[in-house]
Amino acid sequence: MLSRSAAGLYWMGRYLERASHLSRLLRQQTESLADSPPRDIYFGWHRIYGALDREPLSGALELDSDDLFALVDSFALADDLTFEPTNPDSIRSCFAQGRENARQMRHHISAEMWTCLNQSHLRLQDMEMQDIWVRSPENFYAETAAEIDTFRGVTSSTLYRDDAWHFVQLGNYLERVQLSASLLMAQISAVHLFEIPADAYWTSLLRHYYAFEAYNRASSAAIDPDRVLGLLVTNPQLPDSLSLSVAELCTELAAIGAGPDTEATARTRSQAEYLRQLVGVEWPGGADGHALLGKIGDGCRQLHHLVTKTYFDYPVLAPDQGRAGRHDQ
């Protein structure tokens, strides 16, 4: 597959995963606006901004105990993360970039995939925060996440299982692992900052990962932070766990086959295996847990670098260095 095409599909997968992740976080957050105390609302914003490693447009987040201020602030913060044109990680920006990558690679994806994505893009294109705020912001975020889920379903049903598929999936899973590691670190930091342990902080995290029922089944309903984190990181049966996502990532990487340079390919796969080992151990808890998540995040960034250098932007050998990686077809 053409390297630039593979890169475009990989980035499409990454951007749409990013849009999905943020939509789900904002859904949780806006749901909490109806009845949560301001402190919980600010906890939520801290967690989201911490996970994204982003400063709010207005500067640092400051706790205001007034309900009205909490809502006004929430409007501005949600707008920043949803429609703000200067924010490359806003939902609309991620959608636009995912769609733009798809547009450039339309000949590699199915017509059904394109139409599905394009319709979502058209829906988002002219919306403003006010439009969704006066109705039901949580419904908007739920619909947006559902549209991405639909796109994934259409992709699964219609995309030929060649390298196009594998690179889309690779981008999707790598982004998921990286975002999850970052979110879990932000959760630990925010809980520490807000001092008072509250079950609500952890149940909303479980819900984000569609893991609330699974946790209850396994843990008799008592919320224990380390058990929550252990489930989300190491459980191989939970769809969005780091463990399962890294396993999928390794599978996709193996399916892509050898790149032009076998040593580079081996290094890339080895890095993925390293990630698998990190998420395969028993959850250590405490400071060690935070450090482990940091290693996973760093490992993802390194893996992205290796994928880029192995498949997309590899050095072309000069004629006197032999004809490795060259083939006639």
């Binding site: 597959m1 053409l2 390297s3 630039r4 095409s5 593979a6 733009e100 547009r103 450039q104 339309r106 000949h107 017509a111 394109w114 139409t115 394009n118 319709q119 058209l122 390298d163 690179f167 892509i256 086959g257 050898a258 790149g259 032009p260 498949y311 997309f312 590899y314 072309v316 004629p319 490795a324 990686g325 060259r326 083939h327 006639d328 077809q329």
Partner: protein, 477 residues
């Protein structure tokens, strides 16, 4: 729906009605169907067709428009129809014309017999900016310089005429196919009853044509479509065609030339490319030969083509044959190379480089269409009957300053076809761009991109200037 407000003009050929106001025999089914539909039904079909284009992102890009670079071409849902007999006559003329044009290109970049024999003046060819000295001695595969041609035809009361030959990177075929898909679905019963000839195999025929032009010994050639990129106005078409022919859609940065062979960078290493359907203009194709500042091309590409290691479709240098001045000599080319009379006529053309033609043009600006030879897309032209005195004065100055850069033609009464305009059927001027493919043989799918001048009375059909498109049906007899 009726045609009560449809005004016929005896000076203009109507694609639906004869001069007596009755529909042409091959248009009767369409006439009856439209008559049985309400205005609301027809409008709903029109909206559905437009919505399907929006949802599928069938767009073109407008240069210099920052607010909205992706646009949907306006589609009229009423098809234009033609009988098989008429189509047969047209295709014979189109094949004849392309055959002569390919012989002309082979000749002028080779022995230049047509110049030596005085059929066409040497300066007409060699002063043409599209004449590429670098292509002299080049051997196009099977003598096919132009494998993909989009010829613009117009019809008047005197029959069809060729308005121009597009021999470089003709576009519009994706619209032909997309409009067909949408219109066929919208008018499915009429489509079935009318026995419309199929055009869906265009991609297969194009792929076959490209394969036939592959370098010798490459029985299963690797094909690529070279695009300038996402910002090109025809990017949708490039993507669409790459998909249709199973080629990789590449940009210049994806390719490199090594040891006289062209390779593309893939996830499993460099892979040889045998045939490049290039949609990049000559100027930008190879910075070592043409514009050195081009970032869109591939250094060494022409060298590889000269060695016969890669086939470029269309070959560089073909623009000299669709130059607006050289156009005037195409009928002579047909006589010279084929010993035949042209089956489709040219539009009468005045070459302003000739003093007598310049004088005639200046004296008749209000009646003529003046075109700059190097322009396309409806730019750089004056339509005399629709111009102001100020515009005519401006063009007169331009003509005097550089007469060789202009030609003029009589303003043609382009034929009109019924279009749905604000819920009513009204006549609008149309042209026709069929696509002719030449590999081991010449093939034409029975269809064309039919362009419409949507503004009442306008003759400008270009999509970049407010034109639209409609489906074109060739009916079985």
């Amino acid at each position: 729906m009726n045609f009560d407000s449809y005004d016929l003009d005896p000076a203009v050929f109507d694609e639906m009605f004869g001069s007596d106001g009755t529909p042409h025999p091959h248009c009767e089914d369409l006439y009856d169907t439209l008559g049985s539909m309400s205005s609301a039904d027809l409008s709903a079909i029109g909206e559905w067709v437009t919505r399907s284009f929006t949802n599928e992102g069938i767009t073109f890009t407008v240069y210099g428009d920052d607010e909205e670079t992706e646009r949907i071409i306006p589609i009229d849902s009423v098809p234009r129809v033609m009988s098989a007999t008429e189509w047969g006559d047209l295709t014979a003329g189109l094949k004849q014309r392309l055959s002569a044009l390919n012989r002309f290109l082979e000749d002028i970049y080779g022995e230049a017999r047509i110049i030596a024999d005085g059929v066409i003046p040497a300066d007409m060819v060699r002063d043409c900016p599209q004449y590429r000295l670098e292509m002299r001695g080049f051997r196009a595969p099977h003598g096919v310089w132009v494998a993909v041609c989009g010829t613009d035809l117009v019809r008047t009361n005197d029959g069809f005429r060729v308005l121009e030959d597009n021999l470089r990177v003709p576009s519009g075929v994706s619209y032909m196919l997309a409009i067909r898909k949408a219109t066929k679905s919208a008018h499915r019963l009429l489509y079935r009853l009318s026995r419309v000839r199929d055009i869906e195999n265009y991609g297969l025929i194009l792929a076959r044509t490209l394969r036939e032009l592959a370098p010798e010994g490459r029985s299963d050639p690797a094909m690529a479509l070279l695009t300038p990129g996402i910002y090109n106005s025809a990017f949708y078409e490039h993507m669409f065609l790459a998909r249709q022919i199973g080629a990789d859609l590449v940009e210049g940065r994806d390719l490199l030339v090594e040891d006289g062979y062209v390779y593309m960078r893939t996830t499993s290493g460099l892979r040889r490319v045998d045939v490049i359907y290039r949609r990049v203009d000559d100027d930008f194709l190879d910075p070592l030969v043409f514009r050195p500042d081009s970032l869109l091309g591939v250094p060494g590409l022409l060298h590889a083509a000269r060695l016969g290691n890669v086939s470029l479709v269309n070959a560089p240098g073909t623009g000299v044959a669709d130059d607006k001045s050289v156009y005037a000599f195409v009928p002579d080319m047909i006589r010279y190379y084929l010993g035949e009379e042209p089956l489709i006529q040219n539009v009468e053309t005045y070459l302003c480089r000739r003093p007598e033609d310049l004088e005639y043009t200046l004296d008749n600006l209000e009646r003529l269409v003046v075109k700059r030879v190097g322009e396309s897309g409806g730019y750089g032209m004056l339509i005399g009957p629709h111009s102001t005195a100020e515009e005519r004065n401006e063009f007169a100055a331009l003509l005097r300053a550089d007469p060789a850069d202009y030609i003029s033609q009589p303003t043609l009464a382009l034929s009109r076809a019924p279009c749905l305009i604000e819920g009513r059927l009204e006549p609008r001027h149309v042209d026709l761009r069929p696509f002719i493919l030449t590999g081991a043989e010449t093939r034409i799918v029975p269809g064309a991109f039919c362009r419409i001048a949507l503004r009442r009375g306008s003759l400008v059909v270009n999509s970049s200037q407010g034109g639209g498109g409609k489906d074109f049906w060739v009916l079985d007899d």
